[in-house]
Symmetry: C2
Subunit: 177 residues, 2 copies
């Protein structure tokens, strides 16, 4: 067994809050990120590199567009750019925290179904570790909302760390985040 000299590459998938929307991070991903810095990275910042990415869910039903009025092709471009800007603001929150404690990081945006995109990014980027926040839902709730973390624990081709929210952070509806 060899102690690695390259930093341990920790991939953290982050998403927006379902309650507050962009640019606010979800309770579970914020908790997972902060726990990882506090308990794993600690003061050994040169030994770790944080790889952050936000999956933007492509809204097949077009609900996001219901309130928008499109009068020209530019409106669509503006909307796409507005979505991108929201993702960037979200990532900025995490990158800023990494900078504050002095740990190296990279951040990017992907579009698609979160569970598939996360497993694809693991195959592409080959991190040492994938960190995921979890809402800690019961079986009944999972039937309706699905769980990204359970899927990724099974299918991601690298070690997976799942971190549940603290009890005092859990919203009245546990499916919220």
């Amino acid at each position: 067994m060899e102690i690695a000299s390259e930093p341990t590459r920790v991939m953290v998938a982050v998403n927006e809050s379902a309650i507050k929307g962009y640019p606010h991070p979800s309770i579970s991903c914020k908790r997972a990120f902060e726990w990882t810095l506090e308990k794993i990275v600690r003061s050994n910042t040169s030994d770790f590199k944080i790889l952050l990415f936000n999956v933007q869910v492509v809204d097949e039903d077009g609900f996001d567009e219901v309130d928008s009025i499109f009068t020209s092709p530019e409106d669509f471009r503006d909307m796409r750019e507005s979505n991108k800007a929201k993702g960037l603001h979200l990532l900025e929150f995490f990158v800023k925290k990494c900078h504050e404690i002095g740990v190296g990081c990279e951040a990017w945006i992907k579009k698609g179904d979160p569970k598939d995109v996360i497993c694809q990014e693991v195959r592409r980027v080959r991190p040492d570790l994938l960190v995921l926040g979890s809402r800690g839902l019961g079986r009944f709730q999972k039937v309706f909302v699905g769980t990204v973390s359970a899927f990724c624990v099974k299918h991601a081709e690298c070690p997976v760390l799942t971190i549940k929210r603290n009890a005092d952070e859990t919203p009245n509806d546990p499916a919220d985040d």
Copy 2:
């Protein structure tokens, strides 16, 4: 967010190899343990403490006793002591590795159903992190052999890190370990 000064307490559940028996560690728990030292602890040994325990499965069918001949109460006591000695030899392997790299550790033995005992020990000891090796079984195999790691990801009251075996370490029968 505060960088902790107390060491991060990492609980690692270890078991014997289903192929080789005691005192050999299973492929998955050995891999999980070594990965954790290499990628999480690294050279920051004073920042972590490893809490190791072995769950001895109580054999309800008494298969272990089939080849034994009991002629006195002492034989049963000897057998119990022999089982305990096997668990101690297993733990010795892990404690020795911790000593070699200079990370603090504690090790102990429990009896019972692994998935229940692991969740109980998390409630009792309150580690920062639970590390579990996983065989990475498919859905069909899980029906027959069950999976401790899937249960603990859901039910353990702390963050859980699951680590699958490398492809080149997987036996012909993936249920073996």
